[in-house]
Symmetry: C2
């Protein structure tokens, strides 16, 4: 059993997850999750994080027979953009914070050293260390949710770029005169394949007269239709919903082919709600990537679903601490 | 004066360039250039390369007072794809070679150790070492010619990817239902902004009735119109030719914005014939990148024209040798 542990904290716009991760990997102890409750303000959120960390450490000490000095520090994953050097969250549409010194507030309150990186980077590093990417050198992790994020791991380290912005793969243009994106640009991948974009495309087709079970699943109120509704309809065999997913796969496949042609990774790990569509997504996705990427690049790149799922953030935040403060993972 | 030198060889589909590069950079000695004469066959091309290398070494020994043992080895840049480990050119549409052991043929004939990398990677490393990227850590070099190639330098080393295919940025999809590309895909950057694509778009507009000087520059034979013809017309103030270049800049800007959002580099260095259009290209190019990339990513990324120009291949091939065999450049 490991005698050194790292606290992993995964802060999201919806929930906070905290767990105690053994230095050498393996079972996470003291795992807990609570809503972020963003409207209650930054102080509330930080207090909740600190209480969760203390409680997780206490539970873990009991579960794992950990000595009081067995905790090396805290890794924190947060929505970005952020400044890793100062540990500051610069601006987060999902949290409404600006220039918020999250890392030091947590570190001082808990009494342990801490590191901060963005959630997508942490998730990518988590998959590399303990998840689907255990046996590869270079991977891109793509998170599909309200937005589309990405983390790039090259040779066991997160690639951050010149100003900590690398991996914004949701904002690759795949259709230069296409759909308007929330970022102000036109034709971003996110404008086609994020959760809200999938719902919007489904609604457009219905309004144009497509026959489907979908309206009945939202009592005829199309404004309530979400990407989840599309998966529900697929499960019941709805032909139109499957078509919407097939189109989603084509857009996403175009984006992943771009990543392969530029980065030639060993693996692309996708995660998020839309992956629940399983082979309804993956089969047409791989077919589109095969069509668009260079053959050798396609053949050397596994496209897989996250193994860590909701744990990727916590495990990856701990991995980030290990890389930054202890020199690496392998 | 340096007393150690590296032979730099830049093999292209059109010409072979050879020069003797001081280990610490600076003036290239014994520089020479000859046509590749591809139709005369691989043996002819290799013999010509070997003769050029011997002659360059001889000239350089005289010019630079170099001792007989002052040459460390040979760096060779070649069109790809290739296998760096075995020094083999796998398949090159421009040369018509397949599984050709170029590196060892040259090394054995000259009697010096050699390394092989693709021409775009060499050009990128050359700009990093001695050109526009002297003061940055991460850069992407984009070569605009018959095709659009790319080389990615991260922290002073070429990033090759899982199977030596990274940097195929000409084949990012920027318009998923767009123009057919030579690679078989639709909407690749190369299908809009390569030399032949610029000419094709210009011809389409003329055939649709655009008024321009262009037809008179090719004696009315539009099949003879090239990207060069478009620059010629711009110099004379032709409004339609300027419009063709502005559109080229928009497509190219979309591609560069994708690179910035994914890789967040310190610098993008562009090279090739089309850069002769100068501010007719650069001004609308930067404007389009500003529109599409994240602001901070745009602000931290200089977009510049190559400083080494036609020398990038030779200098970069020597730099590749230095990185592979002598541990790095800075």
């Amino acid at each position: 059993m490991s005698d050194r542990y790292i606290v992993g904290v995964d802060l999201g716009g919806t929930s906070i997850n905290v767990g105690i991760v053994p230095y050498d990997g393996g079972t996470v102890l003291g795992m807990r999750s609570l809503p972020t409750d963003v409207p209650r303000g930054a102080k509330f959120v930080v207090d909740r994080m600190v209480r969760m960390i203390r409680a997780a450490m206490k539970d873990a000490r009991r579960e794992g027979d950990i000595p009081a000095d067995g905790f090396l520090g805290i890794g924190i994953g947060s929505p970005g953009p952020l400044d890793r050097e100062t540990g500051t969250v610069l601006e987060t549409p999902n949290l409404g914070w600006r220039n918020f010194p999250l890392r030091d507030l947590i570190a001082n309150a808990v009494g342990l050293t801490a590191v901060l990186d963005n959630d997508a980077n942490c998730a990518a590093l988590g998959e590399y260390w303990q998840g689907a990417g255990r046996n590869v050198r270079n991977l891109v992790a793509v998170t599909l949710g309200t937005g589309i994020g990405g983390g790039i791991v090259l040779d066991g380290r997160v690639y951050h770029g010149a100003s900590d912005l690398a991996g914004e793969i949701g904002h690759m243009t795949i259709d230069s005169t296409g759909r308007k994106c929330k970022c102000g640009n036109y034709g971003c991948l996110e404008a086609y394949a994020s959760g809200p974009a999938i719902a919007a495309r489904a609604v457009e087709g219905l309004e144009a007269g497509a026959t489907s079970l979908l309206p009945s699943l939202v009592d005829g109120d199309l404004s309530r239709l979400t990407a989840e509704t599309v998966y529900e309809a697929i499960v019941t065999g709805d032909v139109y919903a499957k078509e919407v997913m097939r189109e989603t796969a084509k857009f996403l496949g175009t984006g992943l082919a771009n990543l392969i042609n530029v980065l030639n990774p060993d693996m692309i790990v996708i995660s998020g709600g839309v992956t629940r569509a399983g082979e309804h997504l993956l089969e047409p996705l791989r077919a589109e990537v095969r069509r668009r990427a260079f053959r050798k690049g396609f053949e050397t790149c596994e496209i897989v679903v996250s193994e860590l799922g909701g744990m990727a953030g916590v495990v990856g935040a701990a991995a980030t601490f290990r890389v930054e403060r202890c020199g690496g993972l392998r």
